[in-house]
Amino acid sequence: MKVKILFFGVLSELTNSNQIIIENIDSLQNLISLLENKYEKLKSHKYQISLNKEIAHNTDILLKDMDEIALLPPFAGG
């Protein structure tokens, strides 16, 4: 199974990526750990996480094939 990860705002600059694909990851919690290992600087930034375009209020969630996860720094519209 594969999931898609999107990076926005300052996080896209910091990771040098707009999106990546991760394979064989079971939970949102483990995905975040993996990303924070891969991109150390993520640890020092504040962000929310969305799963399939809805804000995830906890990370204790199992992932399915084709899920879309986004890392969202504080919003700054207007």
Partner: protein, 141 residues
């Protein structure tokens, strides 16, 4: 991008605003509150902002904005119509990046709904900005 319900590529033009205002003549409306958010020449570390580059999680903008529009229409029963447009891409200082038009029977709800809606947009809509200076440096917001 013109077909997008909420996002507009580049600055929001006076023509776009005027066009929506010209369609506000339903005779059950008594009040329209319009908000224009404009890119300001803020000074950050002694450098003046020249433009903002907006980026968005477009699909989530759509679903979250739909929710906010529903929330406002449910809470304010005198509100008949809501228009909202936000820029993505580059908008220069002095140009408009957010346009909200709320129409209601009486002025009280138009004012309250308009203020609350703009606050909610800032809080819930996944849009980010990069403030750009004339020396090509930038700051994320």
């Amino acid at each position: 991008m013109n077909k997008d319900l909420y996002l507009v590529e580049g600055a929001i033009t006076n023509d776009l605003v005027a066009n929506y205002i010209s369609r506000t003549n339903q005779t059950n409306n008594g009040a329209h509150s319009i908000f224009l958010g404009q890119v300001r020449n803020d000074i950050i570390d002694n450098k003046e902002v020249k433009a903002i580059e907006y980026s968005a999680y477009s699909e989530m903008v759509k679903s979250e904005m739909d929710k906010l529009v529903d929330l406002i229409k449910t809470k304010y029963d005198d509100v008949h119509n809501i228009i909202v447009k936000h820029s993505i891409g580059i908008v220069k200082t002095g140009e408009v990046s957010l346009f909200v038009l709320i129409s209601s029977g009486h002025r009280k709800q138009a004012f309250s709904a308009s203020k609350e809606f703009v606050d909610l947009i800032k809080e819930h809509i996944p849009i980010w900005k990069k403030e750009m200076f004339s020396d090509k440096t930038h700051v994320w917001k």
